[in-house]
Amino acid sequence: MTWWSRTRRLPLLAACLVACWLLVVPFADASLPVPQLGGATAADVPLLLFAPLLPVVALIVCCGGAPAHEATTVRRVGARDAALAAALPAATAVVVGVAVLAGFGAGDGSGGSPLWSVVRNLGAYTGLALLARAEFGHHAATLLPTLTALTVAVFGYGPEQRAHWWAWPAAEPADPLAWAGSAALLTLGLARTVSRDRPAPR
C-alpha cells in the first residue's frame, strides 16, 4: 500500500463502501414512509436516498488526515484524490451491474432497476461533498449532501408521490435529467479536487 493511500485510510473507506453495497443490494426496494411538505401527504422515501451518504461521509473523513505540506506537493495528489472519489460511484456501478444481472433489485420493470439510483445518487453526493470541501472546508463538507438528501426526503415529492424535477436523488432510476445533473455535480467536484494541489487563492 502506498504512503498516499495510507494517508487516505483506504481500508476504512472500503469498509464503508462495502457496507453501503450490503445495505442497498438486498434492500433496494426498501423505503421509509416520511411526512411530506412538498405536495404529497407522505412519501415512501427509498433507502437509496440516504444509503450513499455513508461512503461519501467516509470519503471526506478518510481524506481529512492529509498533512499540510501536501499543499506544496510536486506529485499530482489532487488527481489521485479525484480518482479515489470517482472510484466510489464507478465501483458501485460495477457492483450494481453484477447485482442486477444476478437478479437483485428488479424493480417494477417500468424504469430500470432502482439499484442504479444508488450509483447516480452516490455520484451526486460525492460531487456535492467535494465542492463543499473546496468551498467551506473539510469539516462542513458532508453537510451539503446530507442537507440535500434531507431536503429531497421532506420537500422532494409532489402530488401522486412523484419526485419534483429538481429532486434528482428521488427521481426514477432512468430519469435523464437526474443523471445529467448528478454527472455534472460529480464532474465539477472532481475538477475542483484535481486542482486541489495547485496554489490556493486563500
Binding site: W3, R6, P67, T72, V74
Partner: protein, 248 residues
C-alpha cells in the same frame, strides 16, 4: 538567489488585507523573519512555498514563477516548507511520514525511504523512526516536521516557527541543523525567539502590518539597539526600535 515578492497583495476570504503590495526580496543565506503576531509572517512563507496564491502580484524564486503552470513543479521541488501546524498522519511511523514528504516533493519511493533516516537523524529522532508519529510529543512532532523539509534536496527551505515547543538542547541542535543546511540551501526561518539571532542568521527581516519594516544584515539590525540595551537583550531592543511603541 532567493525568493522575491513583487507588489504582492493577499487577503484571506472574508478577512482583512494581510499583505498590501509588498515588494521585497529575501537575501540569500540564513534569514530570520521577525514580526508581531498577525504581521503576515506565515502568509509570506506560505506564499513563498506556493501553498497560497497571492490575490495580486507575484512571487518568484530565481527565474521560477509558481503561477506559471509549467514552472510550478520545478519551483516546488526547489522549495521546502515547514508549515506552522505539523500533524501526525494516523497509522504512519515517523520514517514513513518523512519519506512521504520526500515522495510528495518528487523523490523516488526508494530514495525517499532511504533519505528519511538521515533526515530524522539530523533532528535527533533516528531512534524513533519506527514509532507511530501520533505517539510523539508536540516538540518531537515539530522535529519530524523539520525532518520533512530536510529530506529532499531543496534550494530554499522555509520554516514557520520551527523552534516552538523545542527544549533548549533541541534548539541548540536546530541551530546546528540550520548552519549545515545553509551550506546547500538558503534558509528562511520565522520565529519569535530572538536570543540566538547573532549566532545563527545572516539577515533579519521584520514584518509588521503587512509591510517590511526592516531588511538588512544582523549587524545592521544590532546597530538599531539603543546604546544602553542590556547585554544579551540587544535583539529585543533592536526589534522594539524597529516596530516603535505599541506594535509589539
Amino acid at each position: 538567489m532567493s525568493v522575491e515578492f513583487e507588489s504582492c497583495t493577499h487577503r484571506y476570504r472574508r478577512g482583512p488585507l494581510v499583505l498590501d503590495r509588498l515588494s521585497f526580496a529575501f537575501p540569500a543565506g540564513r534569514t530570520v523573519l521577525l514580526g508581531p503576531n498577525g504581521a503576515g509572517k506565515s502568509t509570506v512563507l506560505a506564499l513563498a512555498a506556493s501553498a497560497l496564491r497571492p490575490s495580486a502580484g507575484s512571487v518568484r524564486f530565481g527565474a521560477l514563477d509558481p503561477a506559471v503552470r509549467s514552472q510550478l513543479r520545478s519551483y516546488r521541488r526547489d522549495v521546502g516548507w515547514l508549515p506552522q501546524q505539523v500533524t501526525a498522519v494516523p497509522g504512519m511511523t515517523c520514517r514513513e511520514q518523512v519519506a512521504y514528504a520526500g515522495w510528495l516533493k518528487g523523490m523516488a519511493r526508494g530514495e525517499a525511504w532511504t533519505g528519511a533516516v538521515p533526515a530524522l537523524d539530523r533532528v535527533g529522532l533516528a531512534k524513533k523512526a519506527d514509532q507511530q508519529a501520533s505517539s510523539l510529543s508536540g516538540g518531537q512532532l515539530r522535529r519530524v516536521g523539520v525532518a520533512q523539509t530536510l529530506v529532499h534536496a531543496a534550494r530554499l527551505v522555509l520554516m514557520d516557527e520551527p523552534t516552538a515547543g523545542l527544549d533548549p538542547a533541541q534548539r541548540t541542535a536546530f541551530r546546528r541543523t540550520v548552519e549545515r543546511l545553509s551550506e546547500v540551501a538558503d534558509v528562511i526561518v520565522s520565529t519569535h525567539q530572538t536570543e540566538d539571532l547573532w549566532e545563527v542568521y545572516d539577515h533579519v527581516v521584520v514584518l509588521a502590518g503587512g509591510t517590511v519594516r526592516f531588511l538588512g544584515t544582523v549587524d545592521a539590525f544590532r546597530a538599531l539597539a539603543p546604546p544602553g540595551a542590556a547585554a544579551g537583550r540587544e535583539a529585543e531592543a533592536a526589534y522594539a526600535a524597529v516596530l516603535g511603541d505599541g506594535e509589539e
